[in-house]
């Protein structure tokens, strides 16, 4: 479960996607997410899934890796899917026996939902796998720039996000340590009902939270000591630049997605 947090971490490489500007990748990821939720047919979703596996492999992420990252998501999705399965309404899957309790629409819908989530997670993790946290922040900051006019502290938000990214592995590490120190917690943590699990989390969550607060305090002091907020304008490094790679990647992905939408409409209409 804790390993799931480190899923989708940056893998260095020189693939086309690596060389793409973070802004292009963020926008493409957004379009991708919208499309994942608008397509109607499982065929299109499967096609998208295969493509994202393929691209991930090209970007230096082995298939095994991608699959392992999906495990907790599938597990989570299955729980939700079960509710759909029994309370979906409509005709049943069979006349009698256990299957007569299962709604046919529900079964289809839950399968589609699991598929959607899988495609979504796997596709968007391509963004984090090929972009360093720093350039990601730069990209987000650039994209949020228009909000600055409405008084949104974009620079501070970007700093906050990059701090969060920096400290996620530390907090995961701390949680692992705490789990190790309390073997019995860790046993309860992975057994029992949801409520039991939630309760057994408490001795873990409280010291973890206290640790985060303490660290935050020390961090703020250390940032002060290094002149944070001393100047109106921080120096900006690595100004982002669009290049031919972005046109190529953007063009190919958009063309592919449009084609997919067309086929999807066709399939949905034909069915």
């Amino acid at each position: 479960m804790l390993n799931a947090l480190s899923h989708g971490r940056y893998i260095s490489g020189t693939s086309l996607l690596h060389r793409c500007d973070p802004r292009t990748k963020i926008i493409l990821a957004l379009i991708f997410s919208v499309i994942v939720y608008t397509v109607h047919t499982p065929q299109s979703l499967i096609l998208l899934l295969l493509c994202s596996f393929g691209i991930a492999q090209r970007a230096g992420r082995p298939l095994r890796h991608s699959l392992r990252g999906l495990k907790p998501i599938v597990y989570l999705a299955s729980i939700t899917a079960i509710t759909h399965l029994f309370f979906g309404g409509g005709p049943a899957l069979a006349e009698s026996g256990i299957l007569s309790f299962v709604s046919r629409d529900g079964a289809g819908r839950s399968l589609l939902m699991i598929l959607r989530l899988t495609v979504l997670i796997n596709g968007t993790s391509l963004l984090t796998v090929t972009t360093t946290p720093l350039t990601m922040m730069d990209g987000l900051q650039w994209l949020m720039k228009p909000l600055q006019r409405f008084g949104v502290p974009v620079g501070e938000i970007a700093m906050m996000m990059s701090l969060a990214l920096r400290f996620i592995p530390v907090i995961v590490e701390e949680a692992k340590q705490l789990l190790k120190n309390h073997a019995e917690i860790s046993r309860d943590f992975s057994n029992g009902t949801m409520l039991q699990r939630a309760r057994s989390c408490l001795p873990l969550v409280i010291p973890l939270f206290a640790g985060v607060v303490r660290r935050g305090d020390a961090l703020a002091t250390a940032m002060d000591a290094r002149c944070y907020g001393a100047c109106a304008e921080r120096t900006r490094m690595n100004p982002l630049r669009f290049s031919s790679v972005d046109i190529l990647c953007g063009g190919v992905v958009l063309a592919f997605l449009s084609l997919l939408m067309y086929i999807d409409c066709f399939l949905a209409g034909g069915a």
Partner: protein
């Protein structure tokens, strides 16, 4: 004293929860000196350091940089923070960024320096602490000692006049300590004033020129480490003495004095030399 670079005059400080951490504390740090700050846990070393670059403001008394009282305005702080570089005790709570290079650039970027200048400074400071080869590594994978070095580089990149380090040797292995010491010696040779809080009496005795001994938020003693660390009240307060002083005390009992004109050896090398000299004297008559 005209060559004082930092001065505290009757400084008192109470934490918001009421803990008195500094109490009528007066001391000076000489320009270009290597100063060791000593004191038991809770004596107020860290609190003292936080006053030196204006992060804490005295409840009473005054802190002076050169001859001028600290200017606590925004502009004053901007200048002071880059002038007095403070390296904290725990490296994990002062590395903010994902990669080494990025972290070292944090200070210079906050100072609004030009991009090219930032790059030069980052490269120089990483070189100075021997971490140039790890510039692109993620911070969270580094060893404890490497993290400490990155912290020092991050402060060096602001080109401070005074480098203040809170227990830099704690948690480092012997080789790493030796290396860090030589880095500090180079910086000192280049004219930097270096202030170090430490619990290591032998290090303070052997390395530092000046010593500041704190006890319960007050200054107990200040002066050359070779003098004050031999004082009884100081040794009592710190709960120990430098090993060389202990050795000499025992040897005096059997009539051997390692002192040469009242000068006790400071380093391992000098100690061995003194012993050789003594044994030669023993064997000649």
């Amino acid at each position: 004293m005209t060559d004082a670079i930092l001065t505290l005059k009757n400084v008192a400080y109470r934490y918001p929860d009421g803990t008195p951490a500094l109490d009528n504390c007066s001391l000076t740090v000489r320009r270009g000196s290597r100063t060791a700050v000593l004191g038991t846990n809770g004596a107020g070393k860290t609190t003292l350091f936080l006053h030196l670059n204006g992060i804490l403001r005295p409840s009473a008394g005054q802190v002076l940089c050169g001859d001028n009282p600290l200017d606590y305005s925004r502009a004053g702080m901007r200048k002071l923070r880059s002038q007095v570089g403070l390296v904290f005790q725990n490296p994990d709570s002062q590395l903010f960024s994902a990669s080494v290079q990025e972290d070292v650039s944090f200070g210079p970027m906050n100072m609004g320096l030009e991009e090219r200048e930032v790059r030069t400074r980052v490269a120089e400071s990483l070189l100075a602490v021997g971490m140039a080869a790890s510039a692109d590594r993620p911070v969270h994978n580094l060893s404890y000692g490497q993290k400490k070095r990155v912290c020092i580089a991050g402060v060096l990149a602001m080109k401070p006049e005074i480098l203040v380090l809170d227990e830099p040797m704690a948690g480092l292995d012997a080789a790493m300590q030796q290396e860090l010491m030589s880095v500090l010696d180079q910086l000192h040779a280049a004219g930097m004033t270096i202030i170090i809080a430490t619990h290591d009496l032998d290090f303070a005795y052997g390395w530092a020129d000046d010593g500041i001994v704190m006890e319960a938020g007050r200054l107990l003693a200040q002066g050359a480490t070779t003098e004050i660390l031999l004082r009884d009240d100081v040794q009592m307060a710190l709960g120990g003495a430098p090993l060389i002083a202990e050795i000499n005390r025992r040897l005096l009992l059997i009539g051997i004095d390692l002192r040469d004109n009242g000068y006790l050896p400071r380093s391992k090398g000098e100690l061995l030399q003194a012993i050789t000299a003594q044994t030669r004297q023993e064997s000649t008559p």
